[in-house]
Every structure is written in C-alpha cells, then in structure tokens.
C-alpha cells in the first residue's frame, strides 16, 4: 500500500511539474511537411529574437489538427496554403478570393499575412526516363496509358482538390491507384514500385529523383500560396513578431523554397538552421541556433514518453480492474462492458486522437486520453478472466467460511487472479509504449517525434532515435513487470506444483 501511495505522489509531482512549466507566449504549429516546419521555425526564431517565449508543436498530424488547434487557441499561428483553406477547410463558405478569405477570417478572430511568395501546388510527377519512353508531357497524356500504376499520398487521395476531382476532370482510366504516406511515394517511384505520384511543386525530391512534373493542361489544381494564419490576439501578445512576419510577405520565391527544402531533405541541415540562415539573409536578424545534444533530446523525449505511458496506464488500472470485477459479478452488465472496451480497441488510433482535439486540444491531454482508452481492454479482460477461472471449490470455500463479498474479493479472489491481472497490465503497458509514439501527431512529443521527423526527412538515423528507445523501453517494462510479479503475485501461487 505504501509503495502505491508513493507512486501516486511521484506521478502527481511529475504531472504538476509539466503543467506549471512556463506557458509560452507564442504557440506555433506546423503540419507534417518539411516546408511547413521550416516556416514555423522562422516564427520561433523571431519570437525568441524579441524575447518572447515560444513553443513549436512540430509536424502535427494534418490540416484538421492544426486548424482545430488554432480555433481552440492551443496554437496561435501556423503556415497555411490558399488552395487548402479555400478548397478544403472552408469549402462550404464558397470564398472566391484572398480578400474574401481575409474578411471571413476576421469574423472568427483570425488574421493572416499576405502570401509569402512561392506557390506550392500539387502536381503529378513520374520518372523522366519513363515519361520520355511513353511520350508523356501533360496530365491529359495519362489517359492513353491505363496500365500505369498510381501511388498518391493519403492526403491527396482524400481531397476534393486531389485525386477525386482530378480523375473526373481528366477522365483518367487508371484502376491501380494506391494511397500511402507522402514520404514513401518517392521511395515507391525510386524503386519502380510506382509509376506516377503526386508531388508538391516545391518538393526537393523532384530534382533529386529525376522526376518530370506533368503539365496541368486543364488547369485543375488551384494555387497553393503559403501565408501565415494567426489569432488576432497575437498582435497584442507579440506585436514585433507579427510585424516581422508581415515583412516576409512576397519574400520567398519558388526556387528559394525548393532550395530550403533541399537543404533539409538532401543535405540534412536542421530546419532551425535553415530558418535562421534565411532570416539573416532577408531580415538581417541573427538568431542563435541551439542544437540540442542527442543525450539531452533523448532525456526530454523519454520524460515525455514516460509521462504519456505512466499516467494513461495508471488511470486505466484504476478504472479497468473495477470494471473487470463488475463484469465478473454481473454477467449481463459484464457482456456490455467487455463489448464496449473491445469496440474501443477497433477504432484507429489516429481517428481517436483527432476526435479528442475539440474536447481536449492538442498535447498531452488527448494523447493520454486515447492511450487510456486503448489500455482498458487487456486489463478488463484479464481481470474478468482471472476471476472467472478461479476453481469453483475455492470460491465455495471462501463463501462457506462466512466471508462477506467484499472480504472474499479482497482476501481470496483478487489475490488468486493477481497473476492474470498483472499480465493484463503488462500487455497494456507494452502496447502503450508503442501506441504512445503516435502522440507526436497531436503535439504530445515522446519517441514518436523523431520517428515522424525521420520519416518526413527520409532519414533513418533520426527514425532510430525514436524507434530504438521505444523498443528498449518496451523491453525494460517487460523486465520490470516480471520483477514485480515476485512482489505482487502471492508466493504460494508462484511455487511450482
């Protein structure tokens, strides 16, 4: 009992130390796109230059996540594109121009900069050699080659201004069309697993992989001019920063953005450094770039990851064991409980995470809530099974002795089921360590962060900075649980018969 109390107080201490950490003045988000991360890093550097605390939630899991976070005020600013907001996010508002967009956003407390200059539109690309062989120059030319294999980023597959609309506009006949992660599409092209993919016109990979960008001869794709969108109150909180951002309007040309993307992806220069170089060049602002050492970033990531896993698991234990007991005692309610926790397990994790944002925002809270939900099933089920499988003779003995139901549960049934319950907790903990890597998609950090960054930059060594510690942590937890069996499972149950 004492150990449990100690554990609780430690956890509470940990939580509060996170909760009361300095709240940043400028909260910046970015989408899971290298270009977007670089632009957001510029905001971070500007904020720091003007002595405003800043926090950057990097590579959040898509437009829906950043947009909702902005509306909730979890972030103050992020880089957006005209095509995305007009044709996707605010499609139902039927806005025709940038000015109409500005007018509308004002009504919901948002402001924006003018476009920064470059147009990062969608385009279709294929290997130059293959295009040459078939004589394909424009998207219309694809109609004659129904056998080509198309692989598009998931985002592009789902968008109105992506594959859905493109197929109709160009009457494309191809049937072999797959959706995958944007970073993997280039590898697919490189390995000849795919023939045609979507690209962004500022992607560094176009030149790197020798792709031909097909001409949008029917002018299907809208323009995707980048700009910053921010909450109106940012002007009061950080007027200098906002002023500097407006100085960037029209300052980043297509070649300049391609070059910056290239530095990040091909030359492996850090996004912060790239952003700093650009600010020095354009605004004469010299910001110091502090690269975190591998060890200190590992320490931070470990703390973040442990926080996610421990709180969610702890809460799950508190709820799931009683649920398992109820399921065992009341058969009908039990079937409902087991059904519901089983159902939760089938919901895709990203869906749960995104679903949580309107309620809990971004960061730790929604990630912990999602992990908590996923941790329930193994513990509930093992508690239920462990109690259910106690030999009938033992249950009868406990009752025949005249123990009240509570004492019977506490003194006999729970200890007898302890091994099974502990195994359920162990399963939850290990699954949790893996699932928590998804927390990075909604700004909760942890080992998922380098994994996301590494995938985005196609950099295996960065991926491993998250993947290896996550695997080590999972093994460590397994080991700790096996040790704890010696304390928590009664000795009499551990003696071999």
């Amino acid at each position: 009992m004492k150990q449990i109390l100690l554990l609780i107080s430690l956890l509470l201490g940990l939580i509060s130390s996170f909760a009361y950490a300095d709240t940043p003045i400028v909260k910046i988000g970015s989408k899971n796109l290298t270009e977007n991360v670089i632009l957001s890093e510029m905001v971070v550097l500007l904020a720091k230059h003007h002595n405003k605390g800043a926090k950057h939630w990097r590579e959040l899991g898509g437009t829906a996540v950043v947009w909702r976070s902005l509306l909730r005020g979890d972030i103050d600013i992020y880089p957006e594109y005209t095509g995305t907001i007009l044709k996707e996010t605010l499609l139902d508002k039927n806005l025709k121009s940038f000015e109409q967009l500005r007018e509308f956003l004002k009504t919901i407390g948002l402001e924006l900069t003018k476009p920064l200059g470059f147009n990062n539109t969608f385009a279709l690309g294929m290997k130059r050699t293959l295009a040459k062989k078939h004589g394909i120059n424009s998207i219309s030319d694809l109609r004659q080659h129904a056998n080509l294999r198309f692989g598009f980023s998931n985002n592009f597959m789902a968008r109105n201004d992506g594959w859905k609309g493109l197929r109709i506009k160009y009457r494309l006949p191809q049937q072999n069309v797959r959706g995958l992660s944007h970073e993997l599409t280039y590898q697919g092209i490189e390995n000849d697993a795919l023939d045609v993919t979507d690209t962004f016109s500022t992607d560094a990979e176009i030149a790197h992989y020798g792709l031909r960008v097909l001409k949008d001869d029917l002018e299907f794709f809208p323009r995707y001019e980048a700009f910053f969108i921010y909450r109106a109150d940012l002007k009061q909180k950080a007027p200098n920063v906002v002023a500097e951002l407006h100085k960037l309007e029209g300052q980043i040309s297509d070649p300049e953005m391609i070059r910056m993307n290239m530095q990040a992806k091909i030359n492996k220069v850090g996004e912060t450094q790239i952003a700093a170089n650009f600010l020095a060049e354009k605004l004469n602002i010299y910001a110091a770039v502090v690269e975190k050492s591998l060890l200190s970033s590992l320490y931070t990531l470990t703390l973040e990851h442990l926080l996610l896993v421990s709180i969610s698991l702890f809460a799950a234990i508190l709820i799931a064991i009683p649920l398992g007991i109820v399921a065992y005692k009341y058969t009908q309610v039990g079937q409902i409980i087991l059904g519901v926790v089983g159902l939760i397990q089938t919901i895709p994790s990203l869906a749960i995470l995104v679903f949580m944002i309107p309620i809990l925002g971004i960061g730790n809270a929604p990630a912990i809530a999602a992990l908590f939900l996923y941790s329930l099933l193994p513990i509930v089920r093992n508690t239920y099974t462990g109690l259910h499988e106690i030999a009938p003779g033992l249950k009868e003995s406990a009752e025949a002795l005249g123990l009240d139901p509570f004492a019977k549960m506490q003194l006999i049934e729970l200890p007898l089921a302890s091994r099974s319950i502990l195994a359920g907790i162990k399963t939850s903990a290990i699954i949790n360590v893996g699932t928590a890597t998804l927390g990075a998609l909604i700004g909760a950090g942890g080992y998922g962060q380098p994994i996301l960054t590494g995938i985005r930059l196609d950099n295996m060594s960065i991926i491993l900075q998250g993947a290896i510690p996550a695997a080590v942590l999972a093994l460590l937890i397994q080991f700790l649980f096996e040790l704890s069996e010696r304390v928590l499972v009664p000795k009499g149950l551990r003696i071999t018969r």
Binding site: A398, A400, L401, G402, A407, P415, P490, G492, I495
Partner: protein
C-alpha cells in the same frame, strides 16, 4: 440442534431433493449416505445456506431459521470441509487456518494459541504451518482444512467427502484420526460419503438417500443391514464390499 423440514430442491424439472424431514442429533456423527445424484452434497450446502431450498422448506439451527440474510454469520458457527480441502493456494497453512479468526478481529495471542491447540489435535507437525498447500500431501491438506473448519470452535462440523481424493492407506489412517478427534471434541458432525465402510466406521447415525433425493432409512449401520426399510437399502449395501462381520 439442527432440524430440516419439508426440504425440496428443484433445478428446472429435475428434483434433486424430495420431501426431506430430518433431525440431526447433537454431539453425534451423522452420515449422509447415498449414491451419486442422491442430493446428499446439495443437502449439506442447504444446511449451511450456500444453497436455498425451494420455498416452503426450512432449516433451523439451534432454534434459529437459516435465511439468505443470516447465512453468512450463521456459517461462523459451522465448520466446512470439502473433498479437495479448498485450501487457498496463496495462503500458508497458518494463514489458511487463521483466516476467519483474523477476519473477525481476534488478537494475535488468541489466534496463535488456537493454532497450536488445533495443530496438536490434528497431529500436524509445527514446520508444516508455514508451508503453502502446494507443498503438502493430500492427507496433510485435509488435516489443515479440518483445522481451518475448527478455528472458530463451531457448534457443527460439515464434511463433504473429506477423504474422497485420498489413497486407501492414508484414507484409513485419517479415518481413525477423525474418529478420535470427533470423540475428543464431542461436536455435532455431519459427513457426506458414498462409502459404507467409512459410514459405518465414523457414523453414529446414518441417513441413506436414494437416487430420487428421498430419505430411505435412518439408523445405525447394523439396522440398515439387518432391518432394511426398503429393497434399495439392501441393494445399495450389497453393491459395496462391506466389513465381513457386518454382512448378513
């Protein structure tokens, strides 16, 4: 002491117990004897309230009717031993034996004194007290199960096939020990068994049930052998090898 009136027990359409009227004499050992399916174990569970009889039946123990509500506390005055002992594998011998005393808040001195008394009574070596059930033989387990049943000094002792799982040699030793212990204690004892030899050896009073869950005859083994109340009695006795001197 213990009086059962108008006991029926029906599961669906199956009548397990049929019109049982029974008075258990105090400070004697009564045997509930019968073939499998005669409802003798069900009857034992009805006595300590683990199972409720069909409406209309009643069990009165020391002038108090046993109900669903009072069954739990009434069981503190009835010791209960089952076939495999029902010892809790996560508790040591001592913890098993003293579980109820500790639950009821006895002080340590009183608990330890009682354990020592009972260990001597059931002839359990002291070093067995801190072992776990899985480290003990079947016979030792039943001795501890008896200790546990006697811990609160109950007025009634119920044993459900207590020796059923033991090999013949150990069984025989334990039968002798049990007889001595019961004589020493002078308690009211009810034992369920299907073994006539065991019934005759341990019992002062035998209650024979048939496969319809009815009491066919009550009396000593001699009476059952020499004055059978029903052809079933003779049939049941002849189906087993009984001590030669008792055979007709």
């Amino acid at each position: 002491m213990l009086k059962l009136t108008n006991i029926f027990k029906t599961y669906g359409t199956h009548k397990v117990l049929n019109s049982i009227e029974l008075s258990i004499p105090p400070q004697k050992t009564t045997i509930l004897l019968g073939p499998s399916g005669s409802g003798k174990s069900t009857l034992l569970r009805i006595i300590n309230g683990l199972i409720q009889p069909d409406p209309g039946g009643s069990v009165t123990f020391e002038d108090t009717p046993i109900t669903k509500e009072n069954a739990m506390t009434m069981r503190h005055t009835m010791g209960y031993v089952i076939q495999e002992g029902g010892l809790f594998p996560h508790l040591t011998t001592r913890q098993n034996a003293t579980l109820m005393a500790r639950y009821l808040g006895w002080d340590t001195v009183r608990v330890e004194k009682r354990v020592a008394e009972l260990a001597e009574l059931v002839q359990l070596p002291a070093d067995m007290l801190d072992r776990f059930p899985t480290q003990l033989s079947g016979g030792q387990r039943q001795r501890i199960s008896l200790m546990r049943a006697l811990m609160l000094d109950p007025h009634l002792l119920l044993l459900d096939e207590p020796l059923g799982a033991l090999d013949p040699m150990i069984r025989s030793t334990l039968q002798e020990d049990l007889k001595t212990i019961f004589k020493q204690l002078g308690k009211t004892v009810i034992i369920v068994t299907h073994d006539i030899g065991e019934a005759g050896f341990l019992g002062d009073n035998i209650v024979l049930l048939n496969t319809n869950g009815r009491i066919v005859q009550q009396g000593s083994l001699e009476e059952l052998v020499h004055k059978p109340a029903d052809p079933f009695v003779t049939e049941f006795i002849n189906a087993q090898r009984i001590p030669l001197e008792l055979a007709a």
